[in-house]
Symmetry: C2
Subunit: 467 residues, 2 copies
């Protein structure tokens, strides 16, 4: 397959969202050029592209071609490229790279990314490459890889820039210049004492605007924001976002600096956290791996628990209906309104829960706001319930006459009010009990609202229609 457009004119559009060619299309062309030994054409094309886009291209290439294309990049870019690959592609490629080459690549990778890659290798591969690293790097790898998946330690990197407090600003800038190739960032630098205890943080910007002979100790922030390595990674993401940090220093339990969490890694943590919140909202157990790569059995297990649990929750609704069988048998037209009433309580509750879960997560609302919001919610829910009651009572008159219409309207107001209040209160209760409010959303609220909806509807019906 040949294309008219020469590769140099191709506009890369990795997600195929607008004009341009997507990764799969370009991969065909790149594979052809590689087959024809036109390496310089490919090389020139790759040079003009962003590494994140090249990663998407590499993922589309067949085994062999992907390595050949990657090797056209300078070593440092190859190392960075590896970090952009999705986990499955990364490990697939890494296992095909010769040991010596892999070690060179991993030495050039940023420390957090190479530790993540190392963790994914099987034990045999780990033992095969470890001896080829320097002692310091071996220890760094082991230390970073040892942190548990959910901790700050698992997302921090150890290639941060350090300065001494007695340096002049000119000396400090020179020191950062020397560290620029190795360090993940030089825009924030960390001042540590002989025990590696953190005594200050300085921004390169402040060094540049300081007087040349001013000392680091005079300019640095001596009370920087920091986090412990064994705290939850979300805490690091929260601090980075709250204080608009470029990087957050991480301390061990002896106050020694052990790493930093950069803003882009914090963003990745936030994205993971958001995904978890979405999953909790629809009762999917959070996955350890990407949905695209998950096996049938992983997804089955992530979903079956809540589905079965909710089945048993719904048995209460069923029992509620069974309890009122006589009323139903006498007024079968009541059944017409059952799905609609039950669903409305759940829907109103889900809305309230989502509004609160999200507001609590973003800090828009605090626990102390509960009282004020509760009274507002009562009024909103009444307004919603009355509007919906008006809508259904029209249908009620038509389907079952004025008596049924009144029962349905009264049930609607009550059910929407109760549903909305449950939806609003549950996230606060969860937060108060130090549980994640996100777990209090959607299906849980709906299940509770379902049961109560059945009971409220038929109780009202039994009372009023028996008269």
């Amino acid at each position: 397959m040949t294309i008219q457009t020469p590769l140099s004119d191709v506009r890369f559009d990795p997600d195929n969202e607008g004009a341009g060619f997507d990764a799969a299309f370009i991969a065909v062309e790149v594979a052809r050029l590689l087959r024809e030994q036109q390496h310089s054409v490919v090389s020139e094309f790759l040079e003009s592209q962003e590494l994140a886009d090249i990663a998407a291209l590499i993922e589309e290439l067949d085994d062999g071609d992907d390595l050949a294309a990657m090797r056209l990049l300078p070593l440092h870019d190859q190392a960075e490229l590896l970090g952009y690959l999705r986990p499955r592609a990364q490990i697939g490629l890494a296992t095909r790279i010769p040991r010596r080459e892999l070690v060179a690549l991993m030495t050039a990778m940023s420390h957090d990314e190479r530790a993540d890659l190392f963790k994914q290798l099987d034990e045999e591969a780990q033992e095969a490459i470890l001896p080829a690293f320097t002692k310091a790097e071996r220890e760094d790898l082991r230390r970073l890889a040892a942190y548990e998946e959910w901790t700050v330690g698992s997302v921090m990197t150890s290639d941060y820039a350090t300065l001494k407090p007695e340096m002049s600003s000119t000396q400090a800038i020179e020191a950062l210049r020397m560290q620029a190739i190795e360090a993940e960032t030089i825009y924030s630098a960390y001042i540590i004492d002989e025990d590696r205890k953190l005594i200050g943080v300085i921004e390169l910007r402040d060094l540049l605007t300081a007087r040349p002979r001013q000392r680091v100790s005079e300019v640095m922030d001596t009370e920087p924001v920091w986090v412990r390595a064994d705290e939850e990674q979300e805490e690091a993401a929260r601090l980075v976002a709250r204080y608009d940090l470029l990087a957050l220093p991480v301390l061990d339990n002896n106050d020694r600096l052990v790493g930093i969490v950069t803003a882009d890694d914090a963003m990745d943590v936030t994205a993971e956290e958001v995904t978890e919140d979405f999953y909790k909202g629809s009762m999917v157990t959070p996955l350890e791996i990407s949905v695209a790569d998950a096996t049938i059995s992983v997804l089955y297990r992530a979903r079956i628990f809540w589905l079965v649990l909710l089945v048993f929750g719904n048995i209460f609704s069923g029992a509620g209906i069974a309890y009122f069988e006589e009323t139903i048998a006498a007024h079968l037209s009541l059944l017409f309104f059952l799905p609609l009433l039950i669903a409305s309580g759940g829907n109103a509750g889900t809305q309230s829960a989502t509004l609160m879960v999200r507001a609590l997560a973003t800090g828009d609302v605090r626990l102390a706001d509960f009282g004020r919001l509760l009274s507002r919610e009562v009024l909103i829910a009444l307004a919603l319930g009355l509007t919906m009651a008006a809508a259904v009572s029209v249908i009620g008159v038509w389907r079952g006459g004025p008596e049924i219409a009144f029962v349905v309207a009264l049930a609607m107001v009550t059910i929407v009010l109760i549903g909305a209040l449950i939806g609003m209160c549950l996230p606060f209760i969860f937060a108060k009990l130090d549980r994640d409010p996100a777990a209090a959303s959607g299906p849980l609220v709906t299940s509770i609202a379902d049961v109560l909806g059945v009971l409220i509807y038929f109780t009202i019906a039994a009372q009023l229609l028996a008269l």
Copy 2:
């Protein structure tokens, strides 16, 4: 009220999450100190705190005290502090600051934040302060404030650092040093020609590691990632995240540089976008303002539309039940299983929809993956359905005998399978039609699954029980 701990020893814990005192508590103490004219104590305390935390404190102080506390900070910090306040608090404070002082503060604010504040002032206040700005600032304010709320232009800032291509790296660093006080960031600098057309981007890091006499034009990236000012702001956030950028240049339709979007502003856009997705998932119309500040009528309008629409959706379920009234009347025990079966289809569908919506949003899954994922979903849904059928058939035997148990089990497998497939396909269909997949989640899937659930259950029952 006095506290034992002197203010200097107080650990500020703004969200009241761990040890330390929250903003409300500290506000009481600060108010007392201000009353007692102990300004230096407050001043010293504020100096040791982060501006984001001081903002939380200012929001807790009464009118008057908040201004008094803020004025203890240097002008530049006051300007930055204003940017940390939540919109309602910010506008509340701004309207109480004397005109001349407000202009001085806004001059020191970053350009995007002062434009946001300006937009919030009423017309009278806008016209009162405009003449006090310099001509260039007035034009900058007007230009930034003119962008529509959802555009890149509305989140970009115009105080970026620029360099000339012919500068040596030493000259360039010196130029950035001069711009450091004014510019939002100097870590990325923009190279423009005489028409303000963007010809390159350079990182300060690359300037530092360049040879002293190397020219900017030799080191800069001549094909940087950029975005148009009139595109959707989510596009800027997506690019910043994808390419791990510190700042993204923004061009007008004539390729002239008009601003940059910094990583922290991109994070705010992402957070807003996530909130919108959560809202869509629970059928709340996205709000223009914060939930905490929204009035009853704003929230009522954001919720009633979908609630009423879903009521009408549920009428189909009711009609389905009404259609099968005879079957139901003959086997009232079928009703016991109705909520459980309907809910299971909706729950399985919601799970599938959430998994797909999120995977599409993060780029974990692309449209091209549909076929592969569909066949996987069929197998997962069958496994889920069979497990749940096994669970309910036990209850079925107990409540209604083997015949009912068989009907319920068969209905369960079918309903879960159909629900899951709808949940999986809808987000893809929405994405294919260039609509936001997030709108295809939760309640919409549940409503469709509800109707189909009723029809499937009673059709199976009518067929099998009539034998």
